[in-house]
């Protein structure tokens, strides 16, 4: 028999039971769509994180003090004296509430030497408007893009501009956050510049306020740094610098280079991806059982036709192909629609804010396995149990969070929507898996049909 005739007879049989065929196809669609959507989301998240890490530069190394360790200018100088170290960026961070033009903004406060902003943000053109602050202990500040353009209805409407004067309220809990009385202070702070949008940067300056290091120390009542960003003089020397820092600090600090971060995050997202694939595979398994069930029913119902086919000269192979082809058609159609549905679902999830695990106060997640980075998540460190890998100083703000401390993770946050990543291999694999599963599910019913003796099939009539 010719393939075209086998296809025609297979299709005619499927058309006879349209609703049942459609429901079976739907089962495959759900399974394939789940695979495509979940893997693309995970791939998008991984790519976005890698971009963020790359923006920090392949030569950047984070050094965070362990509990009981204090980073000072002496520490900074000690590291600068190590071989292969080109620069050390000290960061003092905290959080507060900024009132400008009658609006309150929860902000992260970063104290960074002005000449280190280029290295920290990975670009020399980091200013959207205005000029840099001075490194004196003066209340000049750069405001993040998300605060300057915070209107939810009109993203082009600038709500905070250069020369605006803000009222910044900060609170502190004793010295270095180690207990003692709680106090708050309020200062008037002129806005001297607006930062470009840096959504891909690990330092979430978009919803932050960047000030001179000296002013941050006064404002936040700190005499030590929350983090040090160490720049190796070349990418090839990163591991040597990391080894040296490990020797110097031992257990008193945690040393993490961006490649290590990337590796750790890739590992985490890979595990998440595996979990998603298992979930999707279960959906496909259910679809396969559905196909087998439908095919078994079809064979039972078509004993009549099988008897006719065989009596007029169809061979067992022809009968097998007629039924197997039906399963393949279900798998292929379901696979194609499923890929489309998966792409659509993935973009819908992204536009709706993505899959994310919302961090909880006091226990921020090490890494949000999601398509958005939210304040309080990411690499935050906060008093009371921060992330295992990237914790910051106790009581201090984390290095790379939007709202630094856990207690400030509630109001103003920046969400960076992650574009799902679709690769040809994922799409092809999803289609192939759908077809293979359909063949596996259809082979037994088709084989049973083909082995039916014509006389037995005709007797059942």
């Amino acid at each position: 028999m010719e393939a075209k005739d086998i296809l025609t007879l297979g299709l005619k049989q499927l058309q006879e039971k349209k609703a049942r065929t459609a429901l079976t196809v739907l089962m495959v669609v759900i399974g394939v769509a789940a695979i495509v959507a979940l893997t693309s989301q995970t791939a998008g998240t991984t790519a976005s994180i890698k971009n963020s890490l790359e923006s920090l530069g392949p030569t950047s190394i984070l050094v965070t003090p362990s509990s009981g360790t204090v980073f000072t200018t002496a520490t900074e100088a000690e590291i600068e004296g190590l071989p292969n170290v080109s620069d050390v960026i000290p960061i003092v961070s905290g959080s507060g509430t900024l009132n400008v033009n009658g609006e309150n903004y929860s902000v992260s406060i970063y104290g960074v030497p002005s000449n280190d902003l280029k290295a920290l943000l990975g670009t020399s053109s980091y200013l959207y408007q205005g000029s840099n602050y001075s490194d004196n202990v003066t209340p000049d500040a750069l405001v993040g893009y998300s605060i300057a353009f915070s209107s939810s209805t009109d993203p082009t409407l600038q709500t905070v501009a250069v020369d605006d004067i803000g009222a910044l309220t900060t609170s502190s809990t004793g010295s270095e956050g180690k207990g003692g009385s709680s106090s708050s202070s309020k200062v008037s702070i002129p806005i001297v510049g607006v930062l470009q949008e840096h959504s891909s940067s690990l330092v979430d300056v978009d919803s932050g306020l960047v000030v001179s290091q000296g002013f941050a120390e006064v404002l936040l009542h700190k005499t030590s740094f929350n983090e040090l960003v160490v720049q190796a003089n070349s990418a090839t020397n990163v591991s040597a610098v990391v080894s040296m820092l490990d020797i110097v600090f031992g257990d008193s600090a945690r040393v993490t280079d961006t490649q290590q971060l990337a590796s750790t995050i890739t590992s985490i997202t890979s595990s998440t991806s595996d979990l998603y694939i298992i979930i999707a595979a279960i959906s496909l398994l259910v679809a396969a059982i559905g196909i087998m069930n439908v095919m078994m029913m079809s064979v039972s119902e078509r004993v009549h036709d099988i008897g006719i086919f065989k009596s007029i000269g169809f061979e067992s192979r022809d009968v097998l192909l007629i039924f197997l082809l039906q399963a393949i058609i279900i798998g292929a159609v379901g696979g194609i629609i499923g890929v489309g549905a998966g792409v659509g679902a993935s973009y819908a999830v992204s536009s709706a804010g993505g899959l994310h695990s919302t961090p909880t106060a006091g226990a921020p997640t090490a890494f949000s396995s999601s398509s958005s980075f939210r304040g309080g998540g990411g690499f935050s460190g906060a008093g009371g149990g921060g992330a295992e890998v990237f914790t910051g100083a106790p009581g201090g703000g984390g290095f790379v969070t939007s709202t630094a401390s856990a207690s400030a993770s509630s109001t103003s946050s920046t969400t960076t929507t992650v574009e799902p990543v679709f690769t040809a291999s994922v799409v092809i694999e999803a289609l192939v898996i759908a077809v293979i599963i359909s063949i596996i599910a259809g082979i037994y019913p088709a084989w049973r049909a083909s082995k039916m003796q014509p006389v037995d099939a005709l007797r059942i009539l």
Partner: protein, 229 residues
């Protein structure tokens, strides 16, 4: 042997059902000439349907041999039997046994799908037969849209489309009213005469036998008598 279209020699059929031996046919022998219009008759359970299945190579005899156009069918494997059925045999069933998912034309075309033939030629041959059987205007309809008599005529067209040498009709009038049944029998006899097709009607309706050249009576699995007209 060459004088005969069908030669049945000492055919027996025994079924094993749940450990019990059931002898459906015992040592049946007869011959049919080319173009003969014959009937196999007998009461229900006499073994006539078993005999038809054996003649149609849908089943194999336990012993004995059936020759069709000189070919010993019991020596053929499944593949050879499929080809043999397709080239040499045509079937008409009581319940028409049409494929409901496809239209009348494609039902008639089905046997032609096995042998390589251009679709246009297949369709042409199917339409010629349907037209001869008065179904030209019903050619695009599905079996469920046709009356019983029309469905049986489609089944007859399907049985004839490959120009078989032997057509087996199992109770072809069983589901039809008397008028339609008579029309079908006259149609089959006319085709048998005009195309020299050997035709075997399996029936318990003795009234049909008046149209037949040869009547084979089966009783309790044995050849009871053979009547030539």
């Amino acid at each position: 042997m060459a004088n005969y279209s069908v030669k049945v020699e000492g055919v027996s059929k025994v079924y094993n059902s749940a450990g019990l031996e059931v002898r459906a046919l015992s040592d049946v022998s007869f011959s049919l000439k080319q173009g003969e219009f014959s009937a196999i008759v007998g009461p229900s359970g006499s073994g006539k349907s078993t005999l038809m299945h054996l003649l149609g190579t849908l089943d194999r005899p336990t012993s004995g041999e059936i020759y069709i156009d000189g070919a010993a069918t019991s020596e053929m494997n499944d593949h050879e039997l499929s080809i043999f059925r397709n080239k040499k045999l045509g079937f008409v069933f009581q319940a028409y046994n049409l494929v409901n998912g496809v239209d009348a034309t494609m039902n008639v075309e089905l046997p032609l799908m096995v042998s390589p033939m251009p679709p246009q030629e297949r369709k042409r041959r199917a339409m010629v037969l349907l037209t001869e059987l008065g179904l030209a205007e019903r050619a695009r309809l599905k079996p469920t849209q046709l009356s019983g008599g029309q469905q049986q005529r489609v089944a007859i067209a399907r049985a004839l489309v490959n120009n078989p040498s032997l057509v087996l009709a199992d109770e072809p009038t069983g589901n039809l009213d008397t008028k339609s049944g008579d029309e079908v029998i006259k149609l089959l006899k006319g085709i048998s005469r005009s195309q020299q097709v050997t035709m075997v009607i399996v029936t318990h309706n003795l009234d049909i036998t008046r149209h037949c050249d040869r009547v084979i009576h089966i009783k309790d699995g044995r050849l009871d008598k053979e009547v030539l007209k």
